[in-house]
Amino acid sequence: MSNRLDPNRINAVIKDHNWRALVAFGAENVQYLTGAFLPFARARRNQPVAVVWPANGAPVAFVPAAWATSFGKASAVSVKAYDASGNDAAALAAAMGDTLKGGTIGCDLDAATAASIKALGDVTLAPADEALASLRMIKSDAEIALLSSAALRTDHAINGCIHHITVDRRMSELTFVEELRIHSVERDLDLIGYDATARIASGHELPEYWANAPRYGYATTRDLQLGETIRIDVTNVSDGYWSNAARMMVMRDQLSAEQEHDYDALVAVRELLLQHLKPGKTCAEVCAAVRKAAQEQGVPLVVGSDLGHGIGVSPVEAPFLNCGDDTPIAAGMVLVLDPVIETAAGICRSKDTVVIDDNGAKIVNWYKDWREPYTPIMSI
């Protein structure tokens, strides 16, 4: 079994719910339970995969035959293959055979497709999405180490990239994002997976959440301009675990009064989050307290946006720092703090990855101190 997962936790959940087995269809849940990361699994829902984890017995993964060897090399559980067919949901169900017969089976019904569930036929299923989300929320020491390392290496990559920038030397946005990716792979980040991205937004694109639409994976060929505010977004993966980062810089060696004011707001809300993120408080309580205090301090937080989320085998996952999530903050969580502010310049955000311990939140992705944004040299 992978050293990242404690099977006893899975078995305990199954026992607590009195399930005969747990079956997971969601690509991330399958990855979590097996340790096998196939980047294309999420994009190919018409090639379903599943893991059956019995209350008594060894777990088994069911995958398309073409994936079996690749999956088996990476998986901590045994693998059975089903042949490619015009109806892969039915082929998967047939491969699972009687493994789900009898008793109640916990299932990630939100992640499973309607076709996969229908193909199972007469099986008694109970929702297991929350149970799996709860399992994934509390990270093992190995997961925490990997997520912390990926987060720090991503910040190192951002810093490595931006240290190349000299204001009076021409650089296009496209070159900038290529440098972001190169510096990420130079630090052993995998950059595979469809949403492993490096993006920037500057100038007239800064007010957009999604710059350069619809070429979301790239940037424009526009040259960076003196004095402008730049938002950097990088999402990387390392051994199947994600980092999710954003930082701010300005294209000058010093900030304008407006840029100082805007960045002060980001720092202020970060401080509020760190202050309020304590084990035992719910995400909703933290969100409400931070929003209230931010409003009192005049921080222009975007209405309708979460203040952060979990991270693990997906770059965004439970828990969510919003006022509707009653999940208690707990030691062992790894969160991305992502308060979004909207200023005259545009959308500004600076994502911090934190590990929750018994005392609260500790930032793990500061290669440099981000109480100020990055300012490059003017000339050489």
Binding site: T113, L191, W210, A213, G217, F320, N322
Partner: protein
């Protein structure tokens, strides 16, 4: 022959896609169709793409297309509300925030609101292979008086046969794939036989970045396997693995242009071509040609698989049959029609397929040379014509030191 011009769908071409959906709805007596996955969302938006739909499951989107196009609605998180207008969506938008409530209840409520506002929608179809079972359950409970049912292939059938505009997008994506890998070849071959060589991660990154530099919109899966790792469909390179002269390298990747995907793969020789690989590659090309020559309207995936098996047997090649021999591409990288042994769906003109015939080499490596083919009225047309790979590419060369 399309020469990389007209890289966008025109307004009329967007409308044409939408009209096909509306016509299909009326024939099947659905009031509306609902989609939440990337491929169907792009299609129902009339060939417009939103970011990473399949990966952003916790910030989902949904498109509701109705028989009355005036009721068409996009449900999305607030960060995509302005984006939808930027990409040309003119229908209704219901944006949901997640600061006051969890995502799922907000999403379900927004779709229910969209159905209520649409008025008179009582029968909604969905693609069962793509939509969440749990979401269907929640919607059934929330939207009283509305029946949600599998569309029995309505969306898959529509998407399988492309409009002229879609063909143009797919042709561009297909040639873009080769422009990208050729760029990777050109960047790496100066170093491939040097002591320092060229790392596999950089080779893969060169594919990705050149998709963008040549005007593409994004990549999906990007991989490169050499040596023993080339014996499986996918395996990550060793951390600092470099190109190794004398070995076969297989690169596989997917990329898209404005939401229209291609699925590509090339097998090359790193350094001078070993004779065994030359023989194995030639056999793969023979089978590929036999299958391509058999493509025409009316033949089925099963028929084409039989052609492949027969030719492989005739020339003594070992087919790797597990994945079938290809599949459709469109607003997703893998879609109908599926070229598998039990597929009895006849090919139709203007279907677009990625022909992916895998054979085993003498050293057990998997060889594949994917090309994109349009089914014509009488045969096929290769859309990925940027470069001829009938002879295997040899990555040879050194870097000049220029003194």
């Amino acid at each position: 022959m399309e020469r990389n011009s007209a890289r966008e769908l025109t307004s009329d071409e967007h409308v044409e896609i939408v009209k096909r959906v509306a016509d299909a709805l009326s024939s099947k007596k659905f009031d509306a169709v609902l989609a939440t996955d990337g491929g169907n969302v792009t299609y129902l938006l009339g060939g417009r793409t939103l970011p990473y739909v399949d990966q952003r499951q916790f910030y989902p989107v949904a498109v509701l297309r109705c028989q009355d196009s005036g009721l068409d609605t996009l449900v999305c998180p607030i960060d995509q509300e302005a984006l939808a207008r930027r990409i040309g969506w003119a229908g209704r938008i219901i944006a949901f925030g997640t600061s006051e409530t969890s995502v799922r209840p907000a999403f379900v409520a927004a779709i229910s609101d969209a159905l209520q506002a649409a008025g008179g929608v009582t029968r909604v179809g969905y693609d069962a292979e793509a939509i969440s079972h749990g979401l269907v359950q929640d919607l059934t409970a929330a939207a009283k008086g509305v029946s949600f049912e599998s569309d029995d292939g309505l969306l898959q059938d529509l998407r399988a046969v492309k409009t002229a505009g879609e063909l143009r997008m797919l042709a561009f994506a297909a040639r873009l794939a080769d422009r990208a890998v050729v760029s990777a070849f050109n960047h790496s071959e100066g170093s491939a036989r040097d002591i320092l060589s060229y790392s596999l991660w950089e080779f893969m990154e060169r594919i990705r970045v050149h998709v963008g530099e040549f005007g593409g919109s994004g990549t999906g899966h990007v991989s490169a396997m050499q040596g023993k790792r080339a014996g499986v469909l996918y395996e990550q390179p060793e951390r600092h693995e470099a190109l190794r002269p004398g070995e076969m390298l297989r690169a596989e990747w997917t990329n898209h242009h404005r939401g229209y995907w291609t699925s590509a793969a090339r097998t090359i020789s790193v350094g001078a071509l070993p004779e065994a690989l030359a023989v194995d590659y030639a056999k793969n090309q023979q089978i590929k040609k036999a299958v391509a020559d058999a493509i025409k309207p009316g033949v089925t995936g099963a028929d084409l698989c039989a052609v492949a098996a027969k030719e492989a047997g005739r020339i003594g090649a070992v087919l790797w049959t597990e994945p079938g021999i290809g599949h459709g591409v469109g607003t997703s990288e893998r879609e109908a029609p599926f070229l598998v042994p039990d597929s009895d769906t006849p090919l139709q003109a203007n279907m677009v397929i990625s022909l992916a015939i895998y054979t085993r080499g003498a050293d057990d490596g998997l060889i594949v040379d994917k090309d994109i083919h349009r089914v014509t009225d009488s045969g096929h047309e290769r859309l990925s014509w940027y470069k001829d790979y009938r002879n295997i590419y040899e990555l040879v060369g050194t870097t000049a030191r220029h003194g």
